[in-house]
Chain length 162, copies 2
DNA sequence: AGATAACTTGTACATATGTACAACATGTGG
DNA sequence: CCACATGTTGTACATATGTACAAGTTATCT
């Protein structure tokens, strides 16, 4: 529901009806709305992290780090656009409720762990974040080649196979 | 108010009280809430665009394109962090209400117009977007040097003076 | 089985919100 | 001055929301 309507679309009533339980239960399990939101976001983060990390690993193993990530980005901005928008809505909820920041941010080391050096990883994170957000906001898809061109100059390890 | 509480923090009543006018006036001037939101966002975009474009122009003229942009980013993520967060809240409102997308996006050509080639400009936009968003979400400031290191490889025109 | 804790349900209440609207004021043409 | 458009105000109403809570049900332990 946060993915659909933003953080303010998550209400006790909508959560209860979505789950098919009476309203009272939501206040029994979540003391107040803040906790309901935090729980939901932490759950969503777990889902997203698992799925994204797995897909990135697949693509990187197949295409090498640069081209693999480029495929990942192209995929998300293309066929995966709906999911991408949802993820960003969830992720960016914390922008409006700072207390939720820890509930949406990831331990970043995990994603690229051992797949490239920290310096390249930092650059990749920045570029991918920028490409994805712009793709969402400008309503465009990006190609594998475009992303490759952006990432390549920051890849110190050029043994990545194509 | 959108900058403070997000798009759902903008209500007829809060807008009226902020402006010191009675509630009824807001429904007289804005037929419904959608139009109130769109008007507000378009106004905010104008303010931000003018201010940011002017500051970028200043810094780029003084330091050259790469270092100038790096200063701009460092400034926003440091002393300008509060404003940066507000701008992102306003900008990203459209993520939750797609009809507002046109009200928050900028004509991008304007910002770097004539200051670098289109290819570099596109890369700069991506990188700056990524750095700024990550700075906001991870609650960190970034240094001029870090941004320079990210931007430099994408600068085809190396006559930019340092 | 009986007691005690955990869970579930329905409902109530104070507050906030979008929107409508009738009354009032103020300007603006002739 | 007078009709009339424009602008302004206060208020009303239906709906949504967070939260509390008393009453019921089910599990768990001895």
């Amino acid at each position: 529901m946060i993915a659909r309507d933003g953080i303010s679309g998550l209400t006790h009533r909508s959560a209860a009806s979505e789950a098919g339980v009476p309203l009272g239960l939501t206040t029994y399990y979540f003391s107040d709305k803040g906790e309901l939101a935090r729980s939901s976001l932490e759950y969503a983060r777990g889902q997203y992290l698992a799925r994204d990390a797995a897909r990135i690993a697949e693509l990187v193993d197949e295409f090498g780090i640069v081209t693999g990530l480029a495929h990942y980005v192209a995929e998300l901005t293309g066929s995966g656009r709906g999911r991408l928008i949802q993820e960003y809505r969830v992720y960016l909820s914390a922008l409006y409720v700072p207390a939720l920041r820890d509930a949406v941010t990831w331990p970043e080391d995990r994603v690229f762990d051992g797949r490239t050096d920290p310096r390249s990883a930092a650059a990749f994170h920045v570029i991918i974040e920028g490409v994805l957000l712009r793709a969402v906001m400008l309503d465009i898809a990006v190609s594998v080649e475009e992303v490759e061109a952006l990432l390549r100059p920051h890849c110190s390890d050029d043994s990545s196979r194509g």
